[in-house]
């Protein structure tokens, strides 16, 4: 793996409000929302005529919306016809893949400015069909016919991690508690409530209905109660990310032209991508994702950085156990040590390595094809010091990382950002 032939920067980034929008909004509407939000964050403005291509990341509008060939449609909506408009797919890492390919396309010398679209409109189909559609990102020869959808596959991963490292259900719960605390501070998040808020609203509801008032000692006690039903043991409802409609938009520019758009470009200094067999039974170890390790290795090498240099990160918490695996596979912590760090508050907003200040997939939401690009939106804001409400970290962010996973670790894209 070599170096980028020229440097690439993010000069604008934005997103739609994440939520459940059907029938009001589908991919075209969500994308235009994200485009306008990003446009407003390009300091000196940008015109469609200055943009060379529209790179679209989307998992399966085919199955969710019976609409394929999304690239030209998205480009057309923002005045980019007849420019190149390819679509990229890597399951839940689809816009991570689009983002990476846009970086490579600019580095190649062929394009100077590319807009990256990540989008997914999931709520047009029933929840059962959402689970079924997402399961097409697993192996359909062995896993899917056996009924192993993603909650089950990640439950197997969690169980193996519990067995090998002594991780506990409470460790998983602390990931969700933290991410909901962050999502509360994100006006674009689907669930802007802390677990305490959710507990309070349940108590208020019980009071208003004259029922018995629940008495929980704390958030962990609440998350162990029947209010947090088991989905696939050991994963409960609040260990799972959300079903979401949403889009995100990035404007990328070559070093030659970046300064035209802003005095403070966010440079991409490392990009890596890895893959793994789709099926878990084909892997030597399911407590670690080789796709993450490979993508991270490439990205660190390209950036000339080490895990200890990273100051904040957005990682792929499709399930709470996935955040723990990411923290370890990215080299932030030794295998089996992330849970203790979480318990110590190290990954909180005021900790030594804030993770998922956006609220993560757990609280911000997870429109699968939009997630990778939305991670970059959060990093852009944190590095610019413009993250909304109370979630801006208190130090100057010079070096950051995003980790975008597809399926049960079949694809991973890691990106490193520097000022």
């Amino acid at each position: 793996m070599g170096k980028l032939a020229r440097r690439v920067a993010i000069v604008g980034a934005g997103m739609s409000k994440f939520g459940q929008w059907f029938p009001l909004k589908r991919n075209p509407d969500l994308w235009v929302d994200a485009w306008i939000d990003a446009l407003n964050r390009v300091d000196n403005g940008i015109e469609p005529k200055e943009i060379d291509a529209c790179y679209v990341g989307n998992y399966s509008s085919d199955l969710f919306n019976h609409q394929g060939h999304l690239g030209p449609q998205m480009a057309n909506l923002v005045g980019l016809t007849p420019k190149p408009a390819p679509r990229f797919e890597g399951a839940c890492a689809s816009s991570g893949v689009a983002f990476r390919q846009a970086i490579l396309a600019i580095a190649s010398g062929v394009h100077d400015v590319i807009t990256v679209c990540g989008c997914e409109s999931m709520t047009e189909v029933s929840t059962t069909l959402v689970t079924d559609t997402l399961a097409t990102a697993s192996d359909n020869i062995f896993e899917y016919p056996a009924g192993a959808t993603f909650p089950g596959l990640y439950a197997a991963i969690a169980s193996a991690h519990f067995h090998k490292y002594g991780t506990t259900p409470e460790d998983l719960m602390r990931v969700g508690i933290k991410n909901h605390e962050n999502g509360k501070e994100n006006p674009f998040a689907q669930m802007q409530q802390s677990i305490k808020d959710i507990m309070a609203s349940k108590i208020k509801k019980a009071e208003s209905q004259g029922g018995s008032i629940p008495e929980w000692k704390d958030e962990i006690d609440f998350l162990k109660s029947s209010s947090n039903p088991m989905i696939a043991s050991p994963l409960r409802l609040f260990d799972c990310s959300l079903v979401t409609d949403g889009a995100a938009c990035l404007f990328l520019a070559a070093e030659d032209v970046a300064k035209k758009y802003t005095d403070t470009p966010i440079w991409i200094t490392g990009t890596g991508q890895g893959s793994a067999s789709l099926s878990l039974h084909d892997r030597n170890d399911i407590t670690s994702f080789i796709a993450t390790k490979e993508a991270a290795k490439q990205a660190y090498l390209m950036a000339g950085l080490q895990p200890k240099d990273i100051q904040i990160a957005e990682v792929h918490d499709c399930f709470t156990i996935a955040e723990i695996l990411a923290m370890e596979d990215l080299g932030f912590y030794e295998k089996g040590k992330a849970a203790e760090a979480i318990k110590n508050g190290e990954s909180k907003r005021d900790g030594i390595l804030p993770i998922n200040t956006s609220g993560g997939l757990k609280s911000k939401g997870h429109p699968v094809g939009a997630t990778g690009a939305a991670m970059a939106v959060e990093i852009f804001k944190q590095m610019r010091g413009i993250a909304e409400r109370n979630r801006q970290v208190k130090f100057d962010v010079e070096k950051a990382l995003t980790h975008n996973l597809g399926g049960s670790g079949g694809t991973c894209v890691v990106t490193i950002y520097q000022k």
Copy 2:
């Protein structure tokens, strides 16, 4: 649009036999067939460890096979795990898009050698569902709900071209006759029969059954008969390409390493991609594809060539009218003049500009996600002088072009090849 930061070459190319293979073969099997065929054409051999990434073009394994996330699966089958394995989609131009992105990724400096996979397994679902699935590449807000699948959309395009330029049904038939003559000479083609062969077999069948013996004056007379039923006026059965399972494989290498694999790399000197609104009613003119014009403009500019410099081409004849539009939009002929050139035999194997020597989508077959890569396979063979049977052109091919279209012209990728 700038130049490629470094040169890229094809050092090996191959394909599976195209045909209708379900239930014997699906994407994994077809891809391995194509990989082995391509491997055998890398002069000095190539090992998985030398390959940096696997770029997969596929339209909709989601809808055809209920399997998304195809990249990691394809990479795993040929020993490339845990390397990057993104999937690319541009409707019927999906592997054209994968091919283009692989070229840019190598030019970027990040990768030296990439294998491109194009694959589609279409016959697992019924023919009705094939048409329905392909229709997701049209606009699902206006066109699809109105029942306008691709034969109907291309029929509208043909009618408009007839009206504006006086093109006739016989002009379309001559495209099919030529492409079947070429496909007969391609051992990888789905239909290895000329129209004359098909006529002869129908006569033989009638004779053996003791029925009335059909008397056709010539191929045109046959194609005007009830043996060639109307599908969507003016398009008849033999104006439509085939429903096919198949895969193709390319090995691409940076100029720095290409000579390690062969003394005769085929250089990519131009690549372009264009887009258009998905829906026909959004366009000013449907007798010309702006995506083709844009892609061609970029590719010619990059290569420093003009249409007259091109010696052979593979163009996207999903319907016979599409080959005529391509010949005009690529600048080989003025608008409205291609039909006359076809009549004069200029696009035949022994003509002045042979087109679709492979048999084209009409006779070789059209596994949609594989088509773009398979076009490059034919050009590789013609430039090397190794095209099978009697279809090798009689002159030394120094400059060639491929034209890969998605949907009703929503996406187009044009590639220029030189020795």
